[in-house]
């Protein structure tokens, strides 16, 4: 069974600094998708960034980028120039491209941004 592990329950970063959130996963599949979701306090969970396993190039979305290490089954999220609005719970998620559409999530990392 696929599992997703986020080993950092909480992280903090100074405003304008860079922080990296860790995620590892376990799968026997060769083709799959990885996601980072952000859930601000009392708000909807939104997709931050997505990575297709067949792509070697790391995905980037503005200040958000990933370090995808397929062999190591690692998928970390780097937030550059952190802003107060980045404070949220961050969930790493995995899904296969097969018929099932459910995603496997990690337990989440709560990110605090200090002014």
């Amino acid at each position: 069974a696929q599992t997703v592990t986020q080993s950092q329950p909480e992280m903090s970063v100074q405003e304008a600094e860079t922080v990296t959130l860790s995620c590892t996963y376990d799968t026997s599949e060769s083709d799959y998708y990885l996601f980072w979701y952000k859930q601000p306090p009392s708000r909807q969970m939104i997709l931050v960034i997505r990575q297709e396993a067949y792509k070697q190039q790391n995905a980037t979305e503005n200040r958000f980028s990933v370090n995808f290490q397929k062999a190591a089954k690692s998928f970390s999220l780097k937030i550059s120039d952190s802003q107060l609005g980045d404070a949220a719970m961050y969930f790493c998620a995995y899904r296969t491209p097969r018929g099932n559409n459910d995603m496997r999530f990690g337990a989440g990392t709560r990110l605090t941004v200090k002014p």
Binding site: Q39, M45, R95, P97, G99, N101, D102, M103, A107
Partner: protein, 116 residues
């Protein structure tokens, strides 16, 4: 465009009572998912609807949970009778499509269920 909405935002009930959670997906989204996060743990998949049909309900914990999606629009998740371990945040998500392409799932804000 309205996002995924869930009602109520928070529910506190006693053990043995019944609670019904509602999810309204984004208009036109045939795929609807229910997930649950128990305190401090990972978000777990409960079930997946395609229109009004249950595509996958492998994550439903037991027969105290009943999900419906009448007419392929909104969905309800009923817990009867509720137990203490049912406490958590119940998320609903919807997507335009499914299958091999990972259409983005849009999440609702969740319903926090507390069973005392």
């Amino acid at each position: 465009e309205a996002g995924v909405t869930q009602f109520p935002s928070h529910s506190v009930i006693e053990k043995g009572q019944t609670v019904t959670l509602r999810c309204d997906p984004i208009s036109g989204h045939d795929n609807l998912y229910w997930y649950r996060r128990v305190m401090g743990k990972e978000i777990k998949f409960l079930l997946h609807f395609v229109k009004e049909s249950k595509q996958d309900e492998s994550g439903m914990p037991n027969n105290r949970f009943l999900a419906e999606r009448t007419g392929g629009t909104y969905s309800t998740l009923k817990v009867q009778p509720a137990e203490l371990e049912d406490s958590g945040v119940y998320f609903c998500a919807s997507s335009l499509g499914g299958g091999f392409y990972p259409y983005e799932q849009y999440f609702g804000p969740g319903t926090r269920l507390t069973v005392t």
